[in-house]
Amino acid sequence: MTALDTPPTALNVGRTRLRKEDARLVTGRTQWTDNLQLNGMLHVALVRSPMAHARVTNVDVSAALEQPGVVAAFTGADLVSNWEGGLPCAWPVTEDMAAPVHLPLATDEVRHVGDAVAVVVARSKYQAADAIEHVLVDYDPLPVVTDMEAALADGADLADTSLSSNRSYTWQKIDGDIDAAFDGAAHVTTRRFIQQRLIPLAIETRSVVCEPPTHSREYTLWSATQVPHILRLMLALTCGVPEHELRVVAPDVGGGFGSKLNVYAEEAICLVLARHLGVPVKWTESRSEGFLSTIHGRDQIQDLSIAFDADNRIKGLKVELMANMGAYLQLVTPGVPILGAFMFNAIYKMDALSFTCHGVFTNKTPTDAYRGAGRPEATFGIERLIDEAAHELGVEPFELRERNWIKHEEFPYDTVAGITYDSGNYEAATAKAKELFDYDGLRAEQARRREADDPVQLGIGISTFTEMCGLAPSRVLGSLSYGAGGWEHASVRMLPTGKVEVITGTSPHGQGHVTAWSQIAADQLGVDYEDVEVRHGDTAVAHKGMDTYGSRSLVVGGYAVVSACDKVVAKARKVAAHLLEASEDDLEFDRGTFSVKGSPDATTTIQDVALAVFAAHDYPEDMEPSLDSDATVDPENFSYPHGTHLCAVEVDTETGHVHLRSYVAVDDIGKVINPQIVEGQVHGGLAQGIAQALFEEAVYDADGNLTTGSIIDYYAPSAADLPTFVTDRTETPATTNPLGVKGVGEAGTIASTPAVINAVVDALRPMGVNDVRMPASPRNVWEAMRSARDASATGRSELGAREGGAA
């Protein structure tokens, strides 16, 4: 962005500002939950089931109580009277959705490896860790359900004996005449894609500290959470602590990616233990423990069909999903896959869309929102399907996309799924990406390598994605049976010295809200960037908020900051007019200074006004002596980032190894507040999406054991495994918020997975490969090549047999 693009009054917005948070974070001067030390604090360790499904016939904590340092130990039965129901699921997607009662500590049945059955409290975390080995639990094994298709079959074993089937729900939405779309189709492409299960890897594992009332009736619960406000409400309901007597604090939180968008057993258990024991307690998860007890992501089987007319225009799309809930429904587990109902059509125009999703219980760790939450799965499905269709139709994949995408002059566009994309320019992002990528040059190299039968083949992958984020407006969420709204709150306080406090209901855990919100408030109020402090993540400070997830914080929370600032300025204008003895209409406001039109000497600053209001010696009669303002905003629409991502891979056809050669990401996220923060979000997002494509998978064996039970077996990529990303932007402002911004937190993850897999398949297409199971590890690539070779050999021999063996 050049300086000319920036309005002269915008001294901060649109410019890179080094993050205010970073000096503290990178030097470790932080307050992670696990760093908290309180007087008399005890340490909690959980006894977790080693079996995926079993009846618990006896739990004996007596030997554990004899261990050094042990203060208390409880079974599920001991604590059961504390729960006012189970852990919450806030998204009952259908009226008849099956939702098993999810107690924080299981009593009579365990339903996944890691399900907790007892808790030990000791003076040190080491003593607690040793003592849990002395809790004796008798398990009576029950049949284990791991496979979704088998789970839905008649007479299937049950993942939960309290339910009558493994189906949680079937949710369906049909837009347009889907039968007509397919009946008259000139071509139909059908595929099954597997979204493997993933484990979110926030750098900080989960941690909880709870302090019982000291000087008041208030409990304080610190948690490494993305959602302190939601947690406060839900814990109050789950544990019977009145909401006004519970303060929840999310101190420094080291990433979440959705895994900390939840209400977890350990949070409820620590609250109940603090209440029962009357002393502070702490629980901190180990990495391997987190692999079992923190939510997983993805895990879908996607059956997709797309119908085209003779001009290669999309007529209709049928989507049938099986979505693995795992053993329980966590906060938004059932709702994650149904976001696909609005996203499978992506950037394309079509007459009809049929979407059906079956939520399935298995004896695995529950799934829930993981960076992108429903949109990566949908984007993968449609972008892979378009490439497959292009291959079958014999057209260039870009040509097929262009023929079907929404043209920039067609915005705002009402999609087949019934939502309105406010803005976008797919042509511009694509043109820029192709140029940066040297698309034509790479296609030529690909042709040369194919011609030369090079053992290392080149593949080019395309992803022209869009997504919906900033989950709002509240009315739409209500229509989807979501348990809450999509609004956000901000307060802006002008202090007597002219400094500013911004209180936000968003809850950053690495995103840099303190910096970005400071930039916004500084420009709106005309104060210095360094004169703004942003407070967040503590329900005693930010009393109202909907927290941070779904790329919502800037588009909704940033909007609230703007609104609150506007109110401050409006009040200040009134005071300034009073002090300058001028009409409000005659005042101009520029960079913090009010001046009277035509009287250049008659000026005052917003800081002077703040001091005057503090003194309150002289202010307008029809207002209170305060500039402080609150705003709660509920946007009229989601935001729809989009972009074109291009990936080149070199596939070693002898070993199956995939080398990422180059990656170009051109994102359109509307206006940008801080380009460097955006760059960081895009890089991290790409790494996480590429991780799904090439590296990561949570693998269970048939007995429901997590085979990838530690970070040794779960292949998360490091910087050394990734190319130098080429990133750029086009800028088509959102029209539904005053900043013109769209979300960027998930875009890279949503876009990159199909780009990489399309590239891998493209490299191997001449060998007859039409799909590679994710992650595209050497083993999976090698097996895809081998089965294509076997299929072609079988095809040849069948052909030969028909032709009398001449082949």
Binding site: A129, D130, S288, T655, H657, V699, P717, A720, P778
Partner: protein, 282 residues
Amino acid sequence: MIPATFDYIRAGSVDEAVAALVEHGDEAKLLAGGHSLLPLMKLRLAAPEVIIDLGRVDDLRGVRDGGEHLAIGAMTTHDAVIKDPLVQEHCGVLADVTRTVGDAQVRHRGTIGGAIAHGDAASDLPPLLLALDGTVVVQGPDGRRNIRAADLFVDYLETSIREDEVLVEVRVPKLVGQWGWHYEKFGRVAQAWAIVGSCALIKGSNGTIEDARVGLTHMGTTPLRASATEATLRGASTDAIAAAAEQAAEGTSPPSDLNATPEFREHLARVLTRRALTAAAG
């Protein structure tokens, strides 16, 4: 990730370490760099009651010229091996393979003796020691003895070092003559154990191979050599490499895990051995 309780003994000398081993028997474990032992303890897959730390036994660090061989103290870190002038001059393959071990932190803490005594078939150094016909020196209550690499690796994470013995020295021959070498370490990410590795050394001139050694990583319960490939190449021309590499998986019994079936490992061993030999013959 908290290990079970253990007692800690800091050995001031090899004699002290041996005495502690004699006293505590199979309840004790020697701690070298700790990069295999400590993760196992944190996962509670290992729970030794006594840890005998060799970290302050300074005699066990450093590289000595032993005439026809180099004698490397067991507690010499990987990083020190890589940077050692004697290693670079006389056994460059050791420096090159060691460079692929773990990441920078592992190489600064992990030791050559620890990596070999752990006996992990998926580890990079054991098959190299085997291919080099190296030797380890161990010290027990009755003094020192040498164990040839061929006799060292017995089974999965099991060596012929006795419970009361300390590995004190690793001996590798000086490579004399026209040797070329290359290690093909194949993995999914930049820093991990090899799914399969093949380390080839070729001695020869004018396209004729005098001697060929191939060490295979992660192709069985122990490190292995591709003996059939080696035999085919001795005295042959470099043109024979491709055909000889086809024999690389003979006599192996590779494990099955998430990264590879036995069949895929055998395939990889052939491809990687061909590439390693071709590069070594360079």
